[in-house]
């Protein structure tokens, strides 16, 4: 149906966005690539434009690299599991008949509007703080020794903070999907005497699978670059140093731009591998 005319018009229409992103990719990324092969340490006044793969070698062989990958995996994985499981349950719940549905929905999506810095500060100080946090009062109220979340369960604490922010997003997308569910099919199953759990397993879950993949894709893109939450709460201590945070340490704390740039390039490559992998799944899901 597409004519030659509309094809070339299409190209012109896509061009601005593609060119903008190309420039965005190429200029800073090429500079990063350039720096990644340089010994660039401004605090020392050192700039040696070509040192080969030295930065890559030291970034990849340092023990912190592997541990940061593992941390990233657990952090992203943890947040995804909580938001998906919680999001499905919340979406199913919000779809039920109830009083004040609109207000409940407003309450549930509110965390999505909160700045990451603010939510990290609020959780860290007013909830997790072992002396003055609400959780500590709760523990004391129950007659238990207050638990120091940020040093005893640091990864979990950060996962909670970020999951709190992203649960609304997952809920919203999943809710739209739940609402599009064919209710006659469900009713038929109910009349046939199918128990709630198998209705969920065989009708609802397959229907939601597409929405779930979308949530995973979009969230992963954002979660790989989590920064503010770690910066505010643990500063990367207690094994919460993700790949993004490791690059940050190299660039801003150690002021080793060359090494940090190499880390940045490594992160881009890894993120793209993840992206291709995810897109394959989503693409499959979107085509059928």
């Amino acid at each position: 149906m597409a004519t030659a005319h509309s094809k070339s018009a299409a190209r012109i229409m896509i061009a601005p966005a593609v060119i903008a992103l190309l420039v965005w990719m190429l200029v800073p990324l090429c500079m990063t690539l350039y720096f990644s092969f340089a010994d660039y340490r401004p605090m020392r006044g050192v700039f040696d434009a070509w040192i080969g793969f030295g930065n890559y070698a030291s970034f990849l062989t340092s023990s912190s690299f592997m541990s940061s990958l593992i941390t990233t995996f657990w952090m992203v994985g943890g947040i995804l599991s909580i938001t998906i499981v919680g999001g499905v349950l919340m979406a199913l719940l919000l779809d039920k008949p109830m009083f004040g549905q609109g207000v409940v929905r407003i309450l549930v999506i509110a965390p999505f509007f909160v700045m990451p810095t603010v939510s990290a500060l609020v959780w860290k100080n007013m909830f997790f703080n072992v002396d003055n946090g609400l959780f500590s009062y709760l523990y004391k109220f129950l007659g238990m020794q207050p638990f120091d979340f940020l040093s005893q369960a640091p990864l979990f604490s950060i996962v909670i903070i970020v999951a709190w922010q992203w649960l609304p997003f997952a809920t919203l997308i999943l809710l739209t999907s739940v609402q599009s569910l064919d209710s006659e099919q469900l009713e038929a199953a109910e009349i046939d005497g199918a128990p709630a759990l198998s209705r969920f397993r065989f009708i609802i879950l397959p229907h939601l699978s597409r929405a779930i993949t979308v949530v995973i894709l979009i969230q992963t893109i954002f979660l790989l670059s989590i920064f503010a939450e770690i910066f505010v709460t643990t500063n990367g201590a207690f094994g919460t140093r993700t790949l993004t945070y490791l690059v940050y340490q190299r660039v801003l704390e150690s002021q080793n731009i060359g090494l940090g740039s190499a880390g940045g390039i490594v992160a881009v490559i890894l993120a793209n591998i993840v992206a291709i992998f995810l897109m394959r799944i989503v693409g499959k899901n979107l085509d059928n």
Binding site: R41, P42, M43, R44, G45, S58, S62, S63, S64, N129, V130, D131, N132, Q145, P146, D148, L150, S151, Q152, F231, T234, N235, G236, A237, F238, G239, R241, Q249, R250, L252, E253, S254, Q255, N256, L259
Partner: protein, 439 residues
């Protein structure tokens, strides 16, 4: 507005500078980057006084939390500067930045009544390279022991003016009363080169440890460091607060003010807060020098938050006028007139410690001065070292390394790993980083 601004900026870039430069001089606007510490916030509140004296200069403030401030000013200065006319930086940054030629010398051009000879020699020494003063101290600090006189008495002990670490540990254990939420000792545990590593590095000096030997070989595998860290961990586990591994200056200050600490070893500036209006124990606080182990060095540090001008600033004269105002004796009097002498920024000028009004209002004055004077950045350790700095090593790589080492130690304090594991990891990563840096 912003488009116009950027057009203007690119016009400058195109070389039309001549015409625009002459526009300066009418009302100069200077941008000041500073930390959101109490003394600086007070300074910001007193801007009106500066404006009254210098109506031709407008001041814009960028007041940020310490870590964010560092991100901002470091990024700016290492990419050529230009964003700020006055930067608040510390004793660690000044020598490094000064050596790079990034800071303007304050030997010339300060106001006539700004007296450089009055600055405390220990403080000024850390901000001077080859006779050039590169930053003016806004407030200076060492560290000391702050303790609860009532709890000390209750424990049947008496705090000497110059305690040993053993005494501190013993007293901490005696004062601890978990039932009533009283922890014998509060100290920094939060990871960071300016947090737990400031405390531990200063402490390690008194245990005869050092960061590097004279050949720049890391020393975390030495017995002295093992002693330091084990003593610290044992003492904190016995008598420290729950969750100490997250406690920095702020958290400990609150704990002490709430009456939950028997002793607190930290910055001398805290003295005016723990005896101030926000404190529930204001009238029961005593002070002592930081502890030692009899090896000749005490565990106290030396730091000065200072105002410096980047060479990239186009408004250096106005910036000097501002710094002259903010770090002068007259500024101290201004604060004293508004908020009382105890609130004056401490630790920078000899004259303040000769002022009877101040000595009367600030019971901690003498101990602060003694602490500052007993710190020696050029000769900080028992064994000789190739670096200067008491609680830091004045090389550009230090902040990055010490942040990571601090995370290891903080993790040990949280009970997630042993002292040996922490030290081994610290040794390995320091070695790695120092090799990468070409030592």
């Amino acid at each position: 507005m912003s488009i116009k601004r950027s057009l203007l900026a690119s016009a400058v870039g195109l070389g039309l500078t001549a015409g625009i430069a002459s526009a300066e001089g009418h009302a100069t606007t200077i941008t000041i980057a500073t930390v959101n510490n109490g003394d600086m916030v007070r300074m910001q509140g007193l801007t009106d006084d500066f404006n009254a004296k210098h109506p031709d200069i407008t001041v814009e403030w960028v007041t940020l939390e310490e870590n964010v401030l560092r991100q901002n000013v470091t990024t700016d200065i290492s990419t050529g500067g230009g964003a700020y006319d006055v930067m608040t930086i510390g004793t660690y940054e000044v020598p490094i930045w000064g050596n790079n030629g990034w800071l303007v010398s304050l030997n010339e051009g300060m106001a006539d009544d700004w007296n450089a000879d009055d600055l405390l020699p220990a403080i000024a020494g850390g901000l001077t390279i080859d006779g050039e003063l590169y930053a003016a101290p806004f407030y200076g600090e060492s560290s000391m022991v702050m303790y609860r006189t009532d709890l000390m008495e209750k424990a049947g002990l008496e705090m000497p003016d110059a305690p040993t670490w053993d005494f501190i540990r013993e007293a901490a254990a005696a004062m601890t009363d978990r039932e009533n939420e009283i922890n014998g000792i509060c100290a920094r545990g939060k990871a960071g080169w300016g947090e737990n590593m400031a405390f531990l590095t200063a402490m390690s000096n008194s245990f005869g440890a050092r960061w590097f030997d004279e050949d720049w070989a890391p020393q975390f595998d030495t017995e002295a460091w093992a002693n330091t860290l084990n003593f610290y961990l044992d003492m904190m586990n016995e008598s420290g607060p729950n969750g100490a591994a997250n406690n920095g200056f702020n958290e400990n200050l609150t704990l002490f003010q709430q009456g939950k600490c028997g002793m607190w070893i930290d910055a001398t500036v805290a003295a005016s807060f723990v005896t101030g209006a926000d404190s529930t124990v204001a009238d029961k606080v005593g002070f002592a020098l930081a502890p030692d182990t009899g090896l000749g060095k005490r565990g106290n540090w030396l730091w000065a938050w200072s105002l410096a001008i980047p060479t990239s600033s186009e408004k250096q004269d106005a910036a000097k006028t501002f710094i002259s105002w903010a770090t002068s004796q007259a500024y101290a009097e201004l604060v004293a007139g508004k908020e009382g002498w105890a609130s004056v920024p401490p630790g920078t000028r000899t004259s303040l410690y000769e002022n009877q009004n101040y000595l009367d209002a600030a019971p901690f004055a003498k101990m602060t001065l003694d602490s500052i004077n007993s710190a020696d950045p050029t000769n900080p350790t028992v064994d000789p070292v190739p670096y200067t700095g008491v609680q830091f090593v004045a090389i550009p790589e230090f902040a990055g390394i010490a942040n990571q080492v601090g995370q290891q130690f903080s993790n040990a304090l949280a009970g997630n790993q042993s002292a040996e594991e922490a030290l081994a990891a610290a040794q390995e990563l320091t070695l790695e980083e120092m090799e990468a840096a070409g030592y």
